[in-house]
């Protein structure tokens, strides 16, 4: 926060004081309700930030020259937060996986039982790890591809730290039993309202930065970040409309009921995958992969096709989560049809990424960072194919409700989302901290193989368990009775649950290795020669590799 002027600091302090007062009000109104605990947390969070903000206020004022350079301070903090949430979320995931194999691992406590830590895992990795990675990289990419500094000095901090306050409130709430039960939207009404405020600020900041761009065209990566910001706002608001018991209660009831609620929920749920876990990460792919490979994107036309295909088709696909349910047949069919069509733009993106590597395959061999991104594009292609396949009704009849879905999600989450994030971080960290390279190339290599092995063990375990359980559920004896009781099918799962926990553990260790490597990179002093590279809009004439011009 060293670049803030006195006026900006004062404004920041006012925001924090107002929030702290809201925290006190929540604590007072909520009393013994969990809302009271959350009020206290808001208060402590704001006071801690206030202390940080004011303790720097008496240093030398920032020079006016800072406005001619890129604004990278929030990005640096964002990298740290991304890694914190990665380790936290993955640790909870491994723990939850282990509980399925050894149920006593919840130590008979309410807060650690599977039903409560499961949303802590999903939100921890999706919003904590994924969300922070998206905000952090978007701040980096939008500045570099627009050749403009972020439009505002204070609001990047507001967006980043406000978003983390949301994560904190949401995830601590699950341990305490606060949840709406809507998958991937479990946070209660007050956290949801706060996220809307943060998100609108993010949107305004992003658009204002784009408006300052010195490039006439908006680069592809920014299309995806824009789609991510806009559509997530729409989904979040519609799915979370709810009526609380009172302003002193954490509990609320959604305005949607039954069959309509199921459709709204999976319209949200599937597009959280599309616009949170795909669009934003494709943005990373479109910037960091060409940058690292030092090759332009293979095809501009494919970029257009896949962008609009994804933006249009995905929104129809949610109902494939509801095949053979009480949802009307016509909606199920629409969902299936569009899910299958979705394969075209998805593979256009994956293919575009892999073909970009043509002429740079020797770099993929030597550079584990680029290999992370190549593998991410591969897993993106794999899981989108699998997704379209599983959306077909008869396939879904077998796969739904089983671990196959879990395996599919993790092929995407570990293989695609996490790998592209780590590849991007390994590119971003040396650039931002002006280091020649990462502290240890060997540790990047170690991380790559841990991540790949972890993903494969995880996904193969879940494919096996899912398909076996799906088949056992529908196995008939010659005299037309069901052969297996439910417990028989559960017993068959135990070996796979152990294998899955082991795969997840490898992936977690990889994330810890990454955090250590990045920490060591930051600690080593900067090479003086790199001081001006990639530092200010004026210096970067050409964004090498990542130009918006077509390759043909």
């Amino acid at each position: 926060m060293g670049q803030l002027t006195t006026g900006e600091r004062d404004f920041g302090a006012i925001i924090l004081i107002v929030l702290a007062i809201i925290g006190i009000a929540m604590a007072a109104a909520g009393r013994s309700d969990v809302l009271g605990i959350h009020g206290a947390m808001v208060l402590v969070y704001c006071l801690a930030l206030l202390f940080l903000l004011l303790s720097g206020a008496f240093g030398t004022p920032p020079s006016a020259a800072r406005l001619t350079r890129y604004y990278d301070d929030p990005i640096k903090v964002g990298v740290g937060l991304t890694l914190f949430w990665a380790i936290f979320g993955m640790f909870i995931g491994v723990w939850a996986a282990a509980q399925l194999a050894w149920p006593s691992l919840n130590f008979d406590t309410s807060w650690a039982s599977f039903g409560r830590i499961r949303p802590a895992h999903t939100s921890g990795v999706i919003f904590g790890f994924g969300g922070n990675a998206l905000i952090t990289t978007s701040f980096h990419v939008v500045q570099r591809t627009s050749r403009a500094r972020l439009a505002d000095q204070l609001s990047p901090w507001f967006v980043l730290l406000g978003f983390n306050l949301f994560c904190l409130i949401a995830i601590s709430g699950y341990f305490l039993g606060v949840t709406q039960s809507k998958e991937y939207a479990e946070a209660e009404w007050y956290a949801d309202i706060w996220l809307v405020i943060v998100w609108v600020t993010y949107f305004v900041l992003y658009v204002r930065t784009l408006a300052r761009r010195k490039e006439p065209h908006i680069y592809v990566a920014n299309w995806y970040y824009m789609a991510f910001i806009i559509v997530v706002a729409i989904l979040h608001i519609v799915n979370n409309l709810a009526v609380p018991l009172s302003f002193a209660h954490a509990k609320s009831y959604t305005i949607w009921a039954g069959v309509q609620d199921s459709m709204v929920q999976w319209w949200y749920g599937h597009n959280a995958v599309a616009f949170f876990l795909t669009a934003g990460f494709l943005a990373m792919l479109y910037y960091y992969l060409p940058k690292r490979a030092e090759r332009p994107i293979f095809s501009y036309r494919l970029s257009i096709l896949s962008f609009w295909g994804i933006t249009f088709f995905y929104m129809w696909a949610g109902s494939h989560h509801l095949h053979y349910t009480a949802l009307p047949h016509w909606v199920q069919n629409l969902g299936m049809t569009f899910s299958v069509m979705l394969l075209v733009p998805s593979w256009a993106s994956a293919g575009n990424a892999l073909l970009t590597l043509n002429g740079a395959w020797h770099k993929v061999r030597d550079d584990a960072t680029l290999r992370f991104m190549m593998m991410a594009a591969f897993f993106y292609g794999l899981s989108t194919f699998e997704g379209s396949f599983m959306a077909i009704r008869p396939v879904n009849a077998l796969s739904h409700y089983t671990d196959w879905t879990v395996g599919h999600v993790h092929a995407g989450a570990l293989g695609w989302v996490a790998m592209i994030t780590f590849g991007s971080l390994y590119t971003l960290v040396p650039a931002i901290w002006k280091r020649e390279r990462m502290h240890s190339a060997i540790l990047v290599e170690v991380h790559f193989w841990l991540a790949l092995a972890g993903t494969l063990i995880y996904v193969f375990a879940m494919w096996n368990s899912g398909i076996i359980q799906g088949l056992m559920w529908r196995t008939y004896s010659p005299d037309n009775t069901l052969v297996y009781s439910f417990v028989d099918t559960l017993l068959a799962m135990y070996p796979y649950y152990i294998a899955r926990a082991f795969g997840g553990l490898l992936f977690l260790i990889g994330a810890i290795v990454a955090a250590y490597n990045i920490w060591m990179t930051v600690r080593t002093p900067a090479a003086a020669t790199l001081a001006l590279d990639d530092d200010s809009p004026g210096d970067e004439r050409q964004i090498s590799g990542a130009t918006p011009t077509p390759a043909e």
């Binding site: 194999a101 949840t179 299309w223 806009i230 709810a242 009831y253 409700y401 069901l482």
Partner: protein, 250 residues
């Protein structure tokens, strides 16, 4: 030509964003809006009853503990599911469910028709330690439910919020919510008669957790589990192969 158009579009942030909103809105509008206007989306049945305050409180506990993460409440229109769990689920059965709890994963079995299949005593033993009754189970134990008193004072607010989102609770129901919850869990108390008066004769009044000295979260959760699949008989009348609805008194 389309390429040229796009080159123009990508020079304007506002235009691009409007295009994103337009492209992304169509799917949701086409798939969601008609669910409110097409009448046969939700079947019309005459015997659908509301959750009692105790059952609603139990449902909130089911949500709080994340039971939906491992148990679905949606029997699909597939032969093996109907034979394993009972008649396939109808839309009307979750008509008053805010939120729906159809679930997405069956680490444990479907619960849409669990009501009446096991005794209250079985449920209490199972929730206290699942492995006492199902040795192979990997479900967590929920011992604390039996000692946590149910927050009766919040129930009128809960019913009022439910009414605000469209569940037809009457003023009388809201006013008596706490009394009714107590009465349902403490049979033969003076509050018991009001429950069946307001929610129908079929409502189960029972000492769900086996103790009548206080109303616990265990009472509420078991009351909820016992009403799953019992709010209407429609599913049994609708199916091609009607079977007997589980009778709690048997």
């Amino acid at each position: 030509m389309p390429e040229l158009m796009h080159r123009k579009l990508e020079r304007s942030a506002t235009g691009f964003m409007l295009a994103i909103i337009a492209a992304a809105s169509v799917g949701g509008i086409v798939e969601i809006a008609p669910l409110f206007t097409i009448d046969d989306t939700v079947e019309t049945v005459s015997d659908m009853r509301l959750y009692t305050p105790l059952e609603l409180a139990g449902r909130d506990i089911y949500v709080r503990e994340g039971c939906y993460a491992c148990h679905s409440q949606m029997i699909r229109t597939l032969r093996d599911e109907v034979e394993r769990y009972g008649p396939y689920s109808l839309a009307v059965e979750s008509k008053y469910d805010h939120p729906m709890l159809w679930g997405s994963k069956r680490t444990g079995p479907d619960l849409a028709r669990i009501g009446g299949k096991y005794s209250d005593f079985w449920h209490v033993a199972h929730l206290n330690n699942p492995r006492d009754v199902v040795p192979e189970s990997n479900m967590p134990s929920y011992r604390w439910l039996g000692t946590n008193p149910l927050k009766l004072a919040d129930l009128p607010l809960a019913l009022r919020a439910q009414r605000a989102v469209g569940v037809p609770y009457t003023d009388e129901m809201i006013e008596n919510a706490a009394r009714d919850a107590y009465g349902q869990a403490v049979p033969d108390s003076e509050q018991s008669s009001g429950v069946t008066e307001r929610y129908g004769e079929a409502t189960q009044v029972s000492a769900f957790d086996g103790v009548t000295t206080n109303v616990t979260e265990m009472d509420a959760l078991v009351a909820y589990l016992q009403v799953l699949g019992q709010l209407t008989r429609a599913a049994y009348e609708n199916t091609a192969a009607p079977e007997q609805m589980p009778d709690p008194d048997n």
